[in-house]
Every structure is written in C-alpha cells, then in structure tokens.
C-alpha cells in the first residue's frame, strides 16, 4: 500500500513532469480534457492518452493578458499555463463548452496562442430529457469520434471502443472499492490521499492506474488502524479544482472531523456510475452522460434537488454535517448555492460554505469558520 501511495503522490505532486514523461515513455499523443464530463473513452479508443486538465499551483502571470480576474481559478490558471508553454507536451484539447460560459473562450485562446495539433469543441447538452436532447448528445459524440479518426487517420471500431469502456469501467469499480473500504475505516487514508488517488486516475493511463489501484486495495484490506471515537463525520460537497484544494481537507481533519465520503470534483463525482456495455457504445456513452453523471450546478436539472442528494450521502455515511466548497467565480455553483442552503436549513442539516479562490490565501479565516462549525455541531 505504501508503495502504491508513493507512486500516486509522485504523479500528483508534479503532474507536468509526470504527463510529459508519459508521452515519451509510451510514444503516444496526449489529449488534455477540460473538466468535466469529456468522454475520455473515445480518446483512449483512438490510441491516445486522455488527461484531465488540472489547475496549477502558481500565481497567474501572463494569463492576465487573456482572461479577466473575475474568471474562476482553473480557467485563469489553465490559460496561464498554456500561454507560458507549461503544457507544451499536450498534443490537443477537448473543451466541453456547454457546462459553463468561461470554457467558451478556451478554444479561441488556444488556437491563437497554443496552436494545438488537435482541438475539439463539444456541445453536450446541459439538459437531460427528451429525444431531441438524446439524439443531439449522440450526434455530438459521433462528431467527436469522427474528429479523432480524422486526426489519427485510424478508425475507432465498435470493439475497440467497447474495450476502452471496459477499462474505464474497471477503473470506476476500483475507485468505488477504495471509497467503500475507507468508509469502513476512514483513518486508513487521509482525505488528501483519497483525492490524490482519484486525481492519479485523471492523469495516468487507465490500465496502469488499474494495476496500481489493485495493489492499493489489497494493502487497504490488510491494514488495520485505530478508529477515532467521537469524531464528527462531515461530507464535503462542491468543487476542489483549485489552489488550496487539499489544504482545506487537511484543515477539516485537523479540527477533528472525519470525511468518510464526498460529493466533489476532484472526488467521487469523477467516477460515479458506469457506461453500459450492451448495444451501441456511443449511445451508452451518451446515456451515462445524460442519466448517470451526478447532479451538479452546471446541469439544468430541477426535478431532483442537489440538496437531497447531498443529504442522502450524509445519512448513508452517518455524517453530521455538510461542508460546501464553493469556488469564487463559479457562476453555476453561486446561482445554485442559495437553494442548496435553504434546503439544508429547512431540513435542519448543519451546513457551512467555504469559499476558495486561486491565489488568495485565507486559511486562518477559513479555520475560524470550520472551527465554529465543529463547535455548533458539538454544541459548545
């Protein structure tokens, strides 16, 4: 387990160096997928390596000339990395521009300043019901497939796509297993480590990641830990694709709380639910996207309340509260949050919102909020 964890930490501590090395080792093209929901299976089936784009840990410099300060951290950080040449090992990008407005500027900025060999803009529908929507989602994926075939000059057969889906589904099953094992004994891994495990899956070739996860799981089964009594369990909900991401989790744990599960991206949202293997694989990918990817403010859904989903997760884990992690300048989340909050108030659920921002470090103030939250739950 230690060995597997060491590799995971190595991959996630310097994703730039890792992905660059990956390219050289495998002699394959690297395609950066902007979060979230890009069906990586298609890129995998095309014989390239899909990698989920991450936010850097540095201050935005040249990026200021390209994006306003009131765009979210990952937007600014990604553009900054790209224009500074820090991503020069990437051969192409996929942008799903319908999940948020800010993503709409990437393709143009990249065409001008990065000139990727491959670039695809996806318009996966933001709504989920009806034949027109499903048909369009399928059309989009067909067009994505064709663009990949045009780029590589090789056909993506139904069988090869199914094989890729199997590999991805296995990865999802293994990550689920990691979560399951940890739920039974949360002290076995720090929340930071769990996120690093999920993040490693976003960066590594899935076959390799699957082997690593198997090793990790075997170790997790064997390992025994002392369980902490009287700790308050909490579920973080929201987004972590920013600076400070893991520090926030450390802070929560340092204050004596336990995070047995999460509704986060990076986190359980990445691997939730599998792609069906019966029938047409493109349709199966569309159906996972439309019906099985977890609820999130970037989606137009209101017959299900995100708050209910979070409460269910909380109750399933015997948790006592919810910590919303909201990224500054994430308009979809900001718009949804008041309704999420009022749902919590109505249900009498303890909930607190922590806002995180790229470059602005207010850990001390965040600590006060979280500590007050513990005091409220604990009844000080």
């Amino acid at each position: 387990m230690e060995k597997a964890m060491k590799k995971i930490v190595e991959v996630t501590s310097n994703p730039y160096a890792y992905v660059e090395g990956l390219k050289e080792e495998n002699n394959k093209k690297i395609i950066g997928c902007f979060p979230m929901y890009v069906p990586e299976e298609l890129i995998h089936a095309a014989g390239m390596i899909p990698v989920v784009i991450w936010r850097g840990n540095e201050s935005v410099t040249w990026g200021h000339a390209h994006v306003p300060p009131y765009d979210c951290g990952i937007t600014r950080s990604f553009v900054d990395d790209a224009v500074r040449g820090k991503l020069s090992f990437m051969d192409g990008f996929v942008f799903h521009i319908r999940q948020c407005l800010q993503a709409g500027e990437f393709p143009f900025i990249m065409e001008r300043h990065f000139k990727p060999a491959y670039q695809k803009v996806l318009y996966l529908p933001a709504l989920y019901a009806g034949d027109a929507i499903r048909d369009f989602a399928i059309t989009e994926l067909e067009s994505f497939k064709k663009s990949l075939e045009d780029f590589t000059g090789k056909e993506i057969t139904g069988d090869s796509l199914k094989k890729s889906i199997e590999t991805y589904n296995e990865n999802r099953t293994l990550l689920e297993r990691v979560y399951e094992l940890r739920r039974g004994k949360p002290e076995i891994l720090k929340a930071r480590e769990v996120m690093q495990i999920v993040w490693s899956s976003m960066l590594m070739p899935k076959e390799e990641n699957n082997e690593l996860l198997k090793e990790l799981i075997a170790g997790m089964k064997k390992k025994t830990v002392e369980t902490k009594k009287n700790s308050i369990k909490v579920i973080p909900v929201g987004c972590l694709c920013q600076t400070l991401q893991f520090d926030i989790l450390d802070l929560i744990e340092d204050l004596g709380m336990i995070i047995p599960d999460d509704d986060l991206y990076i986190g359980s949202r990445y691997f939730a639910n599998k792609v069906g293997l019966d029938g047409n694989p493109i349709e199966a990918l569309a159906d996972r996207y439309l019906t099985k990817s977890p609820l999130c403010p970037t989606k137009g859904v209101w017959d299900i309340h995100w708050g209910d989903e979070a409460i269910k997760k909380m109750k399933d884990n015997d948790a006592k509260g919810i910590i919303s992690i909201l990224i500054k300048y994430c308009p979809p989340h900001a718009c949804y949050y008041p309704d999420f909050k009022s749902k919590m108030d109505k249900e009498g659920i303890h909930e607190i919102m922590i806002q995180v921002e790229h470059e602005v470090i207010t850990l001390e103030a965040t600590k006060t909020r979280l500590q007050s939250f513990v005091e409220i739950i604990g009844g000080v």
Binding site: V67, C100, L101, E105, L127, A132, F136, A334, C335
Partner: protein, 421 residues
Amino acid sequence: MEIKYKVNRLQTTNEIRPLVDKHWADLRTAKERGEKVAWASGPSFIFAYAMGMKCHFMAGYSAYCGGIGAGEEVLKVAELAGDLPESCSYHRLHMGMGEAVARGIPINPQAILPMPDLMVAGRLCPEMSHYAEGLNRRFGVRVLPIDLPGPYSKDDMPRIREFVYRQFKEVVIPTFEEVCGKPFDYDRMSEILRILKEVALLRNKCWEFFKDKPSRWTLWDYGVSIAPVFYLMGNPAGITYYEKLLKELQERREKDIPAVAPDGEKYRLYWDGWLPWAFLGKFMRKFIPNGAVVLCGRYPWEFFPHPELIDPEHPVESWADLYYGMESHLTYSFSPKGTIDLIGELIEDYSIDGLVMFSSKTCRVMNLAQPEVIDVLDKKYGVPGVIVEGDMIDSAMISDAQIETRLQALFEMIDGRRKRK
C-alpha cells in the same frame, strides 16, 4: 479653445417610454384579466406571443428595472435572501423580485411581475437556466427548459440548428399548446414576423445615419429604441415609431444637425457587451464631454440585423434560421470568431476609431476572449480598444475612477494614432 460638447437629443425617442410602460403594465395586470403569463429567456418569447400570452423577457425586464431605477433595491432583497453578490445580476434581479413578493418586502411596484404559468428557459448560458430552476425550486413555477448552444465555429451551426429546431417543434410548441389548451397559432407567429420584418427594415434605414459624419444619433438613442425589435415584437406601434424616427433623422441630415453639438463628434466608438441599462446616463456623461459618441455595438446588433432573411411564410423554420442559419447566425456573434467578424464589419461600415469593450463582472456571455478580440482587431484595422469593467445593473460592480481612466486612455491612444498618420 476647448470645445464644449453637448448631446442633441432626439424627439422621437421620448415616445418609447409610454409603449414600454404599457407593455409592462399589461403584463402586471394580465392575471387580473384572466390572461396567461409566460416568462422567457433566449429567443423563445415569440412562441408565447403567438399564443396570445403576455410575456416577460429576461434582459428586457432587467433593462426596464434599470430604466425605472428599481435595480438596486431588488438586488438588495436577493442578497437578503442569500443570493451571492458574484452571481449573475439578472439572476439576482429575478430572484429578488420573487423573494420581495414572497417575503412582503416593499419594492417599487412597477418592478413586480406576476409569476408565470410557464417559464421558458432558453439556456444560452447556465445562469439562464438557473434562474428558471430557482423560480421552480423557490416558487414552484413550471419550467420548460430548452438548450440553445452558442456555436464556436460556423461548421458547427447546421447540426445545432437542427437540434434547436427540433426542440421548438417537439417541446416548445406542444408545451404551449398544453398550457393554453389550444393549438399553436402559426398564423399569429407569421404575423408577428411580418411586423418584425417591417420594423427591422425601417430600423436598418435608421442605422444608415450612424454612418454620417458627423453621426446623426447615438447608440444610446438606439438602445432605448430596441423594444420594438425585441419584446414589443408584433406590435404595429413599432412601425409608426421607426417611421417617425427615420423622418427625424432625415431632417437632421438635411439640416446638418449632428448628434453631438456643436459640430459633431471627435471620436467614433464601438461598444461591446451588454448595454449597462442602469448606467446609460452615467456612461453618456463620460463620453459626450470628451466629444466621443458610441455608434454601434454587438448586443444592439443582435436584433435581426438582416430582416430580409425573415420568412413569415415559414415562421418556426425562419425563427431557427435567424439564430442558427448560415446566413443570419445571430448566436454566432457570441463566439470570439463571430465577434471579430461582426466588429470588423462595423469598424468598416461606421468608420470606428476605437472599441469600448464592456466586460460585465457577473455575466460572462459577452466577455469571452475580449482581450484577444482587441488584439486581433487592432492588428487588422489599427483600431485600439480598452476593456471597461462593470455590470448591467449592479452598481457595486462599477468603479467610476477606473472607467474614466480607461476611457481617457482610449482617447489618448486614438489621438496618438491620428498624429502618427
């Protein structure tokens, strides 16, 4: 001697207010008369109009609230209700209005609208569906979502056009039929388009007067005249209005009266992004004393700049084509590439000296890649541009000093280039 610039106000534009007021008053009282009410965002309100419903439109209502000075107090209620100041101010405005009614917080009664029988949420951006979702979650409003992707490149348009057209036919029209309990009125939709076409053709003639040097009117004059090609669509009063406006502009040309006294403008500007409805006067006072006049803009040019393409005989198809057809492609101007094409045309047609790129801090739909757009256009046309930060209606997002500095910089850049020539 320094020239004292002043704006020459048009007479005809005074006649818009009663039309606009009547529209919103009718909407406010519709339920009392037993009429059905719809709300809409994106190009979907025409379907409500075709069914004889009174309909609110997201940006139109926000413009109206800005105009009557109600924005600030309504936004305050939204904040009280927990809405975050960084979220879309149009979203907050609608939530604030609903919350004010629900919580019994007094606001300007003119800003209060009845909750709709149907909210058509055309999702150009996530926020547009969010405010519909919020209305559903908070007030139980029935919501009809439709997905309206903005195309990044022209190649993507045919398949998006098909998608949107299918939603109109398969979802929007049947839902309106159900809500109203009668078949969809295609004839009325055709009639609305016929009137729209006539109004927009007249409006295009008025646009010609922006080409005059000096210009005969300002974008602000046109800004207040948008309603007839927008939410007053189908109202024949729009024809009368634009006929009158055209006549007044012709008279100005004959008598050589410029929009900016005494002798016309020193700088001819383009305006990008939303019109800042609550601050039109504020900006006007920053332009005119410098001899600057804004003549054209991306948002005001969204309202059917090619009326010749409107085909009233095929209303639904034509409606989809206006937004996504290869000829008209209104939604393409949201893409940086489309923006550059459009501004390029406007620079040439209207002899533009500089670009004011208004960047809204809470709505990014028109902010996309603005720094790139400036750079591309400067290299191609030698026309400088500046970004001015602000918001459509939220004054907390506007800094006077910053705006003044940036505009001053723009004027200096234009002066500098003129000297070099």
